[in-house]
Symmetry: D2
Subunit: 310 residues, 4 copies
């Protein structure tokens, strides 16, 4: 790949990215409702790139596990779309940007319990409920999927963190009961929320996440065969670009120009269609809930490689 | 009292009201989320008046128990205000009309978890939570209060109906978890909702409800002593007039001109300050959720007695 | 009247009210969008009572003209209901509390251009448009009506103030064009807003306003004959009680217990059904836009006379 | 270019697209508020492609002028960003998807008069106001810009249509006055709306629009030199992809996978970064307001060329 770039070879480039973007002071914020995230040192910074030609490059803390949080929504959606299992899903959740906060109930009420997209919390709860129609433990199934894509020894659920997060899940429980009131939840609200929270509490490294997301850059082809059809893969990419960065999708589309999904654990997964998947991680967040250093690093990387789709 | 009226004596008047307003055909609707309410014959109609001079007049099905539903909110609010127990309550719930549906989450989100008034569901949940700070079983405490005011043998909780209603309480659970997310609920959401639903499932007759509500027309003096101060009594009356009839408070203020509180069981409790309390009951509801025949009967009664406060 | 009170005779009572409530320091606020209101000295305070028996009592600055602002909405509504002219009006404006800011566009959009009640700005614009169907100059017609009720020499339009207020009427113009978009405005938006602003810019004294509002306490009988039917009069009283004090209707119903309508000029008109009309004025406002000293004075007066309807 | 495709040469491909997608029956709708658009025959269908290598391909009614409507918003934004003129613009309008109707006032109220993006009506009014700071006639300036890019004889303003559209512009006038109330409009509301409507009433052919939009696919290089910097060009592309298709941006991103902007005249302008710009036109619209046949044709074209950015 490096032959197509005027930039330095990718490995060197990532090292330079780490040098430039690893935080030197404790700027940004941490989510108040998930206490353990505040304990991660502010200067953690890792980046990994997995290419469609099979190479993996990484730098910084790319081997340190972190909480994937909402990045899990990309993979539960992928699982829900696998093997024609999407039947019925798209009548229960839309695929449009929401324009409101990721955990808002307002739009849900106005739109009669149909969440705007699978990446706001209400939509992710519907996706989890959809998965629970085929398995009693969607979180463990997701863990298995991620492990298969990322290689082992690999991802694990931080059950202590999940238990703590469950204790402050009132908003998600409100969303789940609200969905149920509209007839858009099959399983008990508490079961769906518990699975959702455990999915969010999966711990992975940048390298693992980049490898796990590679099928999204590779027409649906994963490390051990077909994960999704090219069409469903394109579907996820388009939802990532329009809805993946909370209320900063437009800004991220401009600065980075690539489909991405962030989590409040500080990770961001980005897809360069046909070329590679990227995972960057740094724990402190900007006002929109996206990794401060991670977003800056991705903008820099996009500028220097010309990978923007625009 | 009849001496002050150009209308016939009150007993005869109530008989005439029953004659005129008892439904002859099955008009109006029943709430879809509480199945057992649909089983009540459409032609049930009762009315009772308890005067501050100690008389009780009644006619029609005034001795038939019905589900008091949201009329319970008047009494839980009264209990919450008793004996100076209101400390802290008014920072958790406002006293203004809402302008939105009784079970809406929208305004609650915009106003950071502070319900608009104690008669919308969110506000009643906060009141119940407030009561639960002093008792583990607010519903039984309410039953005791109502029995004391109404005389025995009297009110009872229809536990089967309560269980059924709990099964379709997703919206209320959503509201409760949402309140908790905003820090405006002390007890577990499920506990608060269960108490709330059991309060709503209390069965009373028109005669019992008129007697139980008499203190609201009598400066706070109940059947066995002071229930509330005159000032707190006035408070409840003003909230009934501005917020007591769901989204038809303005229309009811015009047509009847008296503080009232309705329930989807078809009951309406009305206060004539200084004079009497009235309970009318007929199960079929208008589009706003208030008893169709009951509202018409109260408008008629108000016209013929001149009891409107306007 | 004084014979029915344990309070002092009404004249003395009003003098005491002025003594107690005339502001001694510049507390409260003035509306930022109507500059000339800020020029009124903060210690202005007047009160007047006109009784159904024909007497007028007053004290303090009750003879100083002030800008009636939104109190005009009570009288334009009365004019719109006169002589059966209400045909069609109640399909264009509701009669329920709004729960949102007096100049909000949100509810108007949700409810397809039908304002919640005639006392929020959108509703008052519809009422003015309704009046304009019969006259080219609704403001002058209102002035004539008020002069007839209040006696002359009397009310006048402060045209300079009106011109200034028109310059900062963007919100009202937005509301008017929005109503027009929904087909709920017949005349040009600019014409309706100009009339509305000139109505608000009428200058009256407390004595004049109390006299002008007397028909609302007197079953519709004004100083020179019938203004409204008893039923339409009751209608206006009920709207005043549920919607007359911006977002503090519930609080005012509790503290004062009487139908009232305030204006940002610092005036409040209050009705004691069957007994009298009251106008109090003091220019500084509380956070809800109601006269700070005026509201306190009315609460005091209500306490000492027992005039609350609750 | 055809050498990189397994599809037929582009000219033949466009002919086939017209053959497949030209409407055979009158499906879809026309906007009710712009009467003259209903007079366009339903079976009009044209498509044109302008490549960065300087070629232009077209088929069907690609030479018939149509009303560009909201496609104008792309070009007024480009003009506003030219030559560093964007100073101040991005504090007056955001760059995020809105999630609400293109002409909604609700979000504008919640967000204090800062429109969500330049492609909803409120945002486009702000952009027009921004242009009016440098020219008294922004519509004519836009016409000049489009003519320069598209070649002459070319675009023209349909003044009769503009006059008709102005008559039904109450919603846009409401938006403009609302913006002014929030201090986010410099020029008079009527002036801004008139310019906006005349911009929307510009008539162009598919060929002209494809040529005019070519700079957006070409790093900002237009037919006669630099229009925008590469960075500003990328900015517009990202806003097109996330916000360009009203409330169907997500669906369009999936089905077509390219930045696009539609107008209710039935035109859609699409950018294939680095490769070409495409304009398709067919007058009947789907439920979201986008050309029914045009969207289907673009999805087909994207499938057969592999031009999707995902």
């Amino acid at each position: 790949m490096s032959t197509t770039l005027s930039a330095p070879p990718l490995g060197l480039l990532l090292e330079d990215i780490v040098r430039r973007h690893r935080p030197r002071q404790n700027a940004g914020s941490v989510p108040t409702n998930i206490p353990f995230l505040a304990t991660v040192p502010f200067d953690r910074f890792g980046i990994a790139v997995a290419t469609t030609s099979g190479e993996v490059f990484s730098s910084g803390d790319a081997g340190v596990p972190f909480s994937i949080q909402s990045i899990s929504k990309v993979f539960t959606l992928a699982m829900a779309l696998q093997g024609g299992r999407s039947a019925g899903l798209w009548s229960r959740v839309l695929r449009e940007p929401s324009g409101t906060s990721f955990n808002s109930l307002v739009q849900l009420e106005a739109e009669k319990g149909i969440p705007r997209n699978p990446f706001i919390n209400a939509g992710a709860l519907v996706v989890t409920d959809h998965l629970l129609e085929e398995t009693p433990d969607a979180a463990t199934q997701l863990l298995r999927f991620l492990t298969e894509q990322a290689g082992s020894p690999g991802p694990f659920i931080d059950e202590a963190a999940a238990a703590g997060e469950l204790d402050s899940s009132s908003r998600n429980l409100a969303l789940a009961h609200f969905l149920k009131d509209f007839g858009n939840l099959t399983r008990p609200a508490a079961v769906v929320v518990e699975n959702y929270v455990r999915q969010c509490s999966i711990m992975m490294t940048c390298v693992q996440l980049a490898k796990a997301g590679l099928f999204l850059a590779n027409n649906g082809q994963g490390t051990s065969g077909t994960v999704l059809s090219p069409s469903e893969t394109k579907r996820i990419g388009s939802i990532m670009l329009t809805c993946g960065m909370y209320d900063a999708a437009g800004e991220f589309a401009y600065r980075v120009g690539l489909p991405g999904k962030s989590g409040v654990g500080g990770g961001i997964l980005v897809i360069v269609p046909g070329r590679c998947s990227i995972c960057v991680w740094s724990p402190r967040l900007d006002a929109k809930g996206n990794s401060l250093a991670g977003t800056a690093a991705l903008a820099d990387l996009s500028d220097r490689t010309g990978w923007s789709v625009f």
